[in-house]
Subunit: 276 residues, 2 copies
DNA sequence: TTGAATATTATGTCTATACATATTAATCTG
DNA sequence: CAGATTAATATGTATAGACATAATATTCAA
C-alpha cells in the first residue's frame, strides 16, 4: 500500500512520538487517523515543492505583493506544519529563480523587479540539431597554425605572440547550413590539439572530452554577415546573424575562443518562471 | 574568539559528544586540539562550498574524467568527514550547473557534454542602463487601442478579435537611443492599463507592479532594423539588431508581449561555470 | 546628539536519523 | 531461457536541533 501524499495526515513512523504539532497522536491506527483527521484546520504542506507552489500562489494572487516582506521561515514552518528546513528549501529555490530576495535579519521579500532570469542552455551543436529532428553533419573548412589577431590575443591575456590552431567549420542540419564556427585553440594550453586534424571530429566535442576548463564567458550578439559568412551560410552579405562567442579558461590559461554564427532566422527561446 | 573555519578541527560543541569520526575527543581544550590536530590524515571539509570546490578540482584535474561515475554520497561524506546531507547539497548544486548528472541508484557521473548553462539575467531596462553608469531616460512614442496583428493574436491564443493597448517607446542611455520597445498589452487581462497613458511611466515597470504574471517566454534573436527602428535608433535600415521578445502569461491568459530592439552593438555577456 | 557596544533576529548551514523513490541487479519461476 | 518478482542501492527529501553569520535595533556613554 503506497503511502498517501499531499493529503491526509500521513504521520511518519518516526522513533520520536511527538511532532511539532502539539496534539499527541494515538499509535497509528488507520481508522482512527481517518476519523480524527484533525479539525479540518489547514491543508498539510509536506514537500518543499508544495510549499513553493503555495508561496508562488500567494505572490501571484498578490496576497504578498511585490516588495512585501513575507513571514519568516519559522512562522511559515509552523503555519505549514513542517520543519523550517523545508520552508528554507522552498524559499531558497524561489530566490534562485529571482522571485524573492532574501537577506539575513531583514527577511524575505517579494522581488520588486523580478529580473527575467532565463537559463539559456547552449548545448553541443550536434544535440541542438538532433533536438530539431534534423540530421547533423559536420564539415571542416580550414585548419592552420597561426597567431591570433590582436584583439583576440588581448582577450587571451597573452603577452607577445602565442601559437594557436585556427579551425573553421560548418555544422549542417539536414543538409542546410546551420552554424559557421570560427575557432582558435591556444596550443600552449592544449598542445595535444596540434595532433588532431578535426576533419571528421568536431573541435568542440574533442575539446570537451580532452581538455579541461574551469570557467568561461559567453557573449550573445547580433552581427552583420561578412562576405565569407554570407557565402557559407547561404545568406546575403550584411544579413543579421545571431552570434554566440565563447571564451573558455583553465584556471588562468585561455583554452579556446569560438565564434558561432547561426544561419539567418535562428533564435533562442527559454521559459520564464516556475512551471504553472 | 571567532571559530576557525576551513582548517583545523573546530570541533563543534554539540550536545552529542561523539561525531561520526570514531575517535573520541577530549572536552574542547584549545591547546590540546592544536597539539592533537589528528595524525595529519586529511584536510577537513566542513562547508558544502568547500566540498563543491574539492569535487570541482577533481573534475578539472581529470581525476574524475568526463563520463566517470564518482563515489556515492555516503562514501564521500565519510571521506570528507561530514554528513551526507552536506555532500548532497554540494553535488545538487553542481548538478544544477550541469556539471554532473545524477540518477537514483545509478549514481553521480561527470557530465560528458556539459551544456553551457548560462543564466542570462534580463533586468529592467532602467537598471540595465544604470549598471552601465549612464543616465536612464524614457520617452513614450505612441499609444493606441488596437487589435493585435494576426501573428500576435495567435501567440496570445486569442479567438477572434481582442482589445489591446499598443505602446511604443524609446529608452535612452545618457541621451543615446538604447532600446526601442514595441509593446502590446492585453486589455482583457489587464483592463486597468487602459487608464494609464504611459507618458512618464515605463509600461514594463507599471505592469510588474500592477499586473501579476505566472510564467512567460523569452526569445533572443538577431533581426534587421526596419525603416522606423533605424530612424529611432540612429542606425541604418537593415542593420543587425539584437532583439528580445517577451511574452508573459497569468495562468491561461496572455498579459503582454514586448519586443525590445537594442541599438547596434549591444550584446549580452554571462559567465560560465563556478567561480574560480 | 553622536558613536560605540550590545542584544536581537532572520536567514544560512551542518548533523544525525529516518523514510521515500527510482532503478538496477539478482533471484525465482514457468 | 524469458519474464516476473524481489532485493539491493544511490539519490531525494523531511525533521529536530544546534550553531553561525549578517544586519538591524537598542542601549549606554561621552
Amino acid at each position: 500500500m503506497p503511502s498517501v501524499r499531499g493529503r491526509g495526515v500521513t504521520e511518519k513512523a518516526t522513533d520520536k512520538g511527538a511532532q511539532c504539532c502539539g496534539t499527541a497522536k494515538l499509535p497509528s491506527l488507520p481508522e482512527y487517523e481517518t476519523a480524527l483527521e484533525c479539525p479540518m484546520t489547514e491543508p498539510q504542506f509536506k514537500s518543499w515543492q508544495s510549499i513553493q507552489d503555495e508561496v508562488l500562489r500567494r505572490i501571484h494572487a498578490r496576497e504578498w505583493p511585490p516588495g512585501a516582506v513575507i513571514p519568516n521561515e519559522a512562522d511559515l514552518a509552523q503555519e505549514f506544519g513542517c520543519a523550517r528546513a523545508t520552508v528554507n528549501r522552498a524559499l531558497r529555490a524561489l530566490a534562485e529563480l529571482g522571485l524573492v530576495e532574501r537577506r539575513r535579519k531583514a527577511g524575505t521579500r517579494v522581488a520588486l523587479h523580478p529580473v527575467s532570469r532565463a537559463t539559456v542552455d547552449i548545448p553541443v551543436i550536434r544535440q541542438e540539431v538532433s533536438a530539431l529532428g534534423k540530421i547533423y553533419e559536420y564539415r571542416r573548412l580550414s585548419r592552420a597554425r597561426a597567431a591570433p589577431p590582436l584583439g583576440l590575443a588581448r582577450r587571451f591575456c597573452a603577452e607577445g605572440l602565442i601559437q594557436c590552431l585556427h579551425v573553421t567549420a560548418l555544422h549542417l542540419a539536414s543538409g542546410e547550413p546551420f552554424v559557421f564556427e570560427d575557432r582558435w585553440i591556444n596550443l600552449e594550453t592544449a598542445p595535444s590539439a596540434d595532433a588532431q586534424d578535426f576533419k571528421a571530429l568536431n573541435a568542440n566535442e574533442w575539446l570537451l572530452a580532452n581538455v579541461p576548463y574551469t570557467h568561461g564567458e559567453i557573449r550573445l550578439a547580433a552581427q552583420a554577415a561578412t562576405e565569407a559568412e554570407a557565402m557559407i551560410l547561404n545568406a546575403r552579405p550584411g544579413a543579421p546573424l545571431f552570434v554566440i562567442e565563447r571564451l573558455t579558461w583553465d584556471h588562468v590559461r585561455a583554452v579556446t575562443f569560438a565564434r558561432l554564427s547561426y544561419a539567418p532566422g535562428h533564435s533562442i527561446v527559454t521559459q520564464l518562471g516556475a512551471a504553472p
